[in-house]
Amino acid sequence: MRVSPTSPMTEHGMPYIGRSLLRREDRRLLTGRGQFIADLELPRMLHAAFIRSPLAHAHIRSVDLSQAAAAPGVAMTLSGVELARLLPPLPDTQLSLPSKWTSRVEHEFHNPQQPGLAHDKVRHVGEAVAVVVADSRYAAEDAAELVRLDLDPLPAVVSGEAALAANAPLIHDHLKTNLFGAFSMGKGNVTAAMAGAPHKFQRRFYHHRYAAMPMECRGVAAIHDSRTDSITIWSATQVVHWVRREVATILGMPEARVRCLALDVGGGFGLKGHVYPEDLVIPFLARRLGRPVSWIEDRHEHLQCSAHSRDQLHEVEVGFDDDGKILALRDNFILDCGAWNPIGGGVPYNTAAHLTGPYKIDHLAVSARTAATNKVPNTAYRGAGRPEAVFAMERITDLVAGSLGLEPAEVRRRNMIRAEEMPYRPGILYRDGEEIVYDSGDYPGALQKALDAIGGVGVFRRRQHEARQDGRHLGLGIGFYVEGTGVGPFEGATVRIDGSGKIYVSSGASSQGQGMETIFAQIVADAWQVAPDDVIISFADTAGIASGSGTFASRSTVNVSAALHHANERLRQKAFAIAANLLECAAADLELRDGGIGIVGVPGAGVSLARVAHAARPGWDHARPQGIDAGLEETYYWEPPTVTWSYAAHAAIVEVDREVGSVKIDKYAIAHDCGLVVNPLLVEGQIAGGTAQGLGGVLLENIAYDADGQLLAGSLADYLVPTAGDMPEMVMVHQHTPSPLNPLGVKGVGEGGAVAPPAAIANAIADALAPFGAEFNATPIKPEQIVTAVHSAPPAT
């Protein structure tokens, strides 16, 4: 690190917060010294391979493991039937909704519990039915090929609509329904408002199935220590405390005897944000075998058995007036959840809660149904229900504009909540059960900034007109979202002054590339007036802190910084009391300085933090004053009152080649507000990465299934992750309206980038092809659809 404690202050009056410090984690990651789950080597470690169903829906008649068990190098085989006798299944909903929500929102949930291995039926291609453990992955795969599966095929259900139709084959027979859940919410009187609206129309919007596709797949390793009857699990997970909790519960062990760590994790994006069957099976096998067991997911498995996302079909009706003011909105949507529902109602409720976004819409009715189908489970992926909401709402806004001959940006302005109206209460609940309050922000300001960044609407319209004369099709599209960030229930931080004088920090948060070792060092360094190098960040380990939620939902900077604030404050008070005792003065006469504590106005009269830590110890010759307990450590659990609201405007200019259907992104701008920015360089990195995923989602990425439930995207040759050549330059401009809901004033930024691009691009393409009257209300937008849309509509001229 090249920053010294005496560097100049930022505008926040702090040396480190607000500065683009380079990352500490780079040192190991750039030199090949990172440690990812696949790099972990334990003595006498065995390797697991799962046998996975080739069919989408079938009864399991038998699983013959006899040949596999006899194969070279095999230590053990296990079928679902055998495992079901030994282990209970996973809990039915890992992401629970609080009673404040369940008591106030009309809903029903029917969630089955997924066993570690399927034993009665297979419910999606790729679902695991057995496991082989051998001395190498190669040997395990050889043995897996010898497993004889006898499956009795059943008809496959491959869409939410089909799943909910009468007489649809049941995925989970005991539920007697394919409805995993449903809820409805809203405000005002939509029926009356719609009836009275001067204009209305209906549309279907489909946001297709795509996935997080981190570059590192999943992986779990475990070791059982027979001396203490304890288990250590390493998992490429975002939620170490959840894993520990579920493993302890299912193996019937105290949590104190189960430890879970995440090492370097190669991207999560929500996909690694819940507990999987493999997180339970691998520790179970390690305990049973008395040897460490590792399972490293390969890409083929990853596509067919980790998690997918999005896949929502919306039927929307909108009522509006002659000025484009939206009066009423009705949205009935179906989420195609796949065969299991580990996340429960969180994602579809996010969709509902974020639907009206930055707009004042007084009459709203949303009803959502989550359907079981024979596909991979649908869980949270960067945006977690928001991209689907924004796609529908932003397309509606453009369609309203088009129907009245107004500029889309103008219709947005007419409907937007203005800065002077903040804080604003839309009149609906968030998924934490609290009433939504948009706490701060300037939505029209951000919209204007984004439009200015792409050169302005007027200038663009002239360019567009000239290009049309030349037979070229340019289009401008906007995507605007608001995002509730920093959701509860809690996150904690432990701060301890180490005997060396360094400051040790642990938390329930964990990093999959967000740079937490750097940003939290910045925050703690400012709190204690030390250098970031004097802060030890030790996350992603259940041994570091008793309780943790984990990293997902754009929540870690918000919640951990708040927990740190309070822990630091308490610890500071204690440290000052001890320092005052050492310096024989009053605590009120002290200040933090020079990496220690000193008497105000008396240079040289001070003690180092190491000295204070030493003085705080229990035992003989300690130097604590009366009434101060031993130790110099504080743990604080921050329970946020509710979420705090980030937002951004994305604006895209595209050129559409209507003969081949290709889309080139000419300019892409993002005007973003996440409150106080701890590290601008890292924040921009998050926005860029999220935006790339959103652009990939709308134009390239596609998890397609055929009518038999066979996965058509079986490799990265079919699932098209954007490359550098596919991505545009991104212009970013910032607004900063600090959050009033946490001490630092931060808002979350992790997910936002991925939320708006599908809407912005669909709107841009529709704008480019406006002369053809083409609408683009479904994703992905493939070249062929563009060509078809152009050919099937008569030109407007």
Partner: protein, 167 residues
């Protein structure tokens, strides 16, 4: 014929020796038998580029080669980029421009960029984008990787000294 073979090769300037089945992939051999875990596996079907190494001076996907094919070969992996504590200009530029987040694609990206710049030392931005398209990154959106490769190229052309401004 499918039994274990001896393999002798040079990696990052050092001689190594190992034994494995012919079917063992070069990337697994490098990671497991040679203990060089910096090279990562992302797909095992030659698309993601995380496994990119230099094979006799040219970037190649090590998940698409068998270890036995490396008998007598010279490899460069990410562990061989720095000279002791002195980072390669690409590593330095990636650090300064925040061109990595999770770090999983980074070893492959560095090697692919290295080889690309060897074939095109003064690339335009578009050429850089195309040149690094052989490696997928899911975290960065490539924005900063492109900047880093351009900056490293300049240093490698000897045009200026590395700039260590940190703000």
């Amino acid at each position: 014929m499918s039994e274990v073979r001896e393999i002798r090769l040079t990696v990052n300037g050092k001689s190594y020796q190992g034994r494995c089945e012919p079917r063992k992939l070069l990337v697994d051999f490098v990671r497991e038998d040679l203990g060089l875990t910096g090279t990562h596996i992302g797909c095992e079907h030659g698309i993601c580029g995380a496994c990119t190494i230099l094979f006799n001076g040219e970037a190649a996907r090590s998940c698409l080669m068998f270890a036995v094919q490396a008998e007598g070969a010279e490899l460069l992996t990410v562990e061989g980029l720095a000279k002791g504590d002195e980072w390669h200009p690409l590593q330095q530029a990636f650090h300064e421009h925040h061109a990595l987040q999770c770090g999983y694609c980074t070893p492959g990206m560095l090697i692919a960029a290295l080889d690309f710049l060897a074939t095109n030392p003064s690339p335009t931005e578009d050429e850089i984008r195309e040149g690094i398209s052989s490696v997928l990154c899911r975290c960065t959106g490539y924005v900063n990787i492109v900047k880093a490769v351009a900056a490293a190229a300049e240093v490698m052309r000897g045009a200026r000294q590395p700039n260590l401004a940190n703000d």
